[in-house]
């Protein structure tokens, strides 16, 4: 039972990282703009826009880096803080492999 839960949880990443960041940014800047900025990365598509579910089409690390940069353009470090706060809430051991180096350093 625990093993199955672990497998299910591991299967959620890295999409869950993107989903949570986009969901959080939607609360800040609105769903339309949050989704538009995410699509600008060119590395994901939305499978369920209402739940912010995405499917990655390119390397997760590179796409995550572009996603954070895309939001950074709006309010600078304040927008980056929103992304980092989401990442800090997630289990590091399961998602660190999907984090670019600069984000890993900032998350600590």
């Amino acid at each position: 039972m625990v093993g199955m839960a672990l497998v299910l949880t591991m299967g959620l990443y890295p999409n869950e990282i993107f989903r949570e960041i986009i969901a959080e940014q939607s609360q800040v800047i609105g769903t339309k703009l949050a989704h538009a900025r995410a699509l600008l990365t060119g590395g994901l598509t939305f499978t369920s826009p209402q739940q912010h579910e995405v499917a990655l089409t390119q390397d997760p690390k590179n796409t995550l880096s572009k996603l954070v940069s895309s939001y950074e353009e709006i309010f600078g470090e304040a927008s980056v803080d929103v992304c980092l706060d989401v990442i800090k809430r997630m289990p590091m051991e399961q998602m660190s492999q999907y984090l670019p180096e600069d984000i890993k350093q900032r998350v600590g």
């Binding site: 800040v28 800047i29 609105g30 989704h35 600008l40 709006i74 309010f75 470090e77």
Partner: protein, 294 residues
């Protein structure tokens, strides 16, 4: 031509119309601001005797907030309206401008019709809502300006304690002087208390938001937010100037407090216009090319 964008039907003509109206409003706001500043300088230099020249200035205090409201209505949509913190701050700021326009409109009508403007009068029922609405806008701004990140630091906790105390003390001294003011509690005194409460709230939130955000706020929308901050601070400065002139019985249309209020409205209006998401690289994700939305 329609395009389904996440269950939001977007007409190509709607996107074009909003952009054109927004540009017209922004340019008109800038021109009106320049014209008002020149006109106020004219009043101070030439000091015409007829009061009608000074009453004309109040029309700027009505027209500019109206333009700001139009901009706010157009812009809040791109930020998701009430759904998002940015949208809420735009809506609350626009509502504050609405109170300005309504209060000033009624006040100007009463002045032109040679009616005595009682205190508190109908205009005050609108003016008294400006500060609380700006305060709500600041609360939303705190949620996306990076203030929350710095709030976890020790020096921020110190500010959270000291700034409210300093604000209450300063506002009490400026607007009431001493406790003798409260010997008789009548309708004007109650309204003064409500006005001052709004000023205290705005001062606390403005100082906290600015200080806590300054190291985090950046990006293309930074200048827009700083202009909103400046506009709100000038609103407070206008309140102080108004109180000082009132105590000296030196109030008239187009005076220094009116000019400061105008500058406040100008910064808020132009700040709102700069929150246009078209300024971002890639815009808001909706582009129109030969009538085709993509």
């Amino acid at each position: 031509m329609y395009h389904q964008l996440y269950n939001l039907d977007v007409k190509a003509c709607d996107v074009e119309n909003i952009t054109v109206v927004g540009k017209v409003v922004t340019i008109t706001s800038a021109c009106l601001t320049a014209l008002a500043i020149l006109y106020w300088l004219f009043l101070q230099i030439y000091m015409p005797e007829s009061s009608i020249y000074y009453t004309v200035f109040t029309f700027f205090l009505i027209a500019l907030p109206l333009l700001g409201i139009i901009n706010g209505i157009l812009i809040q949509k791109a930020w998701g309206g009430f759904e998002s913190f940015v949208g809420r701050s735009v809506i609350c700021t626009s509502a504050g401008l609405m109170m300005w326009a309504l209060g000033m409109g009624i006040s100007t009508y009463l002045e032109i019709a040679n009616h005595e403007i009682p205190y508190p009068g109908i205009p005050d029922y609108f003016f008294v809502l400006i500060d609380p609405l700006y305060a709500l806008s600041l609360v939303s701004i705190m949620r996306f300006s990076g203030a929350r990140t710095n709030m976890k630091r020790v020096w921020a906790l110190f500010l959270l304690f000291t700034i409210p105390l300093i604000s209450i003390f300063i506002n009490f001294k400026i607007f009431f002087g001493s406790t003798d003011y409260f010997e008789t509690i009548d309708y004007p005194v109650v309204f003064n208390i409500i006005y001052t409460f709004g000023s205290v709230l705005v001062m606390i939130l403005a100082v906290l938001t600015i200080v806590l955000s300054i190291t985090r706020l950046g990006g293309k929308m930074r200048l827009a937010i700083y202009m909103l901050f400046l506009g709100i601070v000038l609103q407070y400065m206008g309140d102080i100037t108004y109180s000082i002139l009132l105590s000296k019985d030196s109030l008239y249309s187009g005076n220094l407090s009116d000019f400061i209020y105008f500058l406040s409205i100008a910064f808020v209006t132009i700040g709102l216009s700069r929150l246009n998401t078209d300024r971002l690289n890639g815009g808001n994700g909706i582009s129109v090319d030969n009538g085709v939305v993509s």
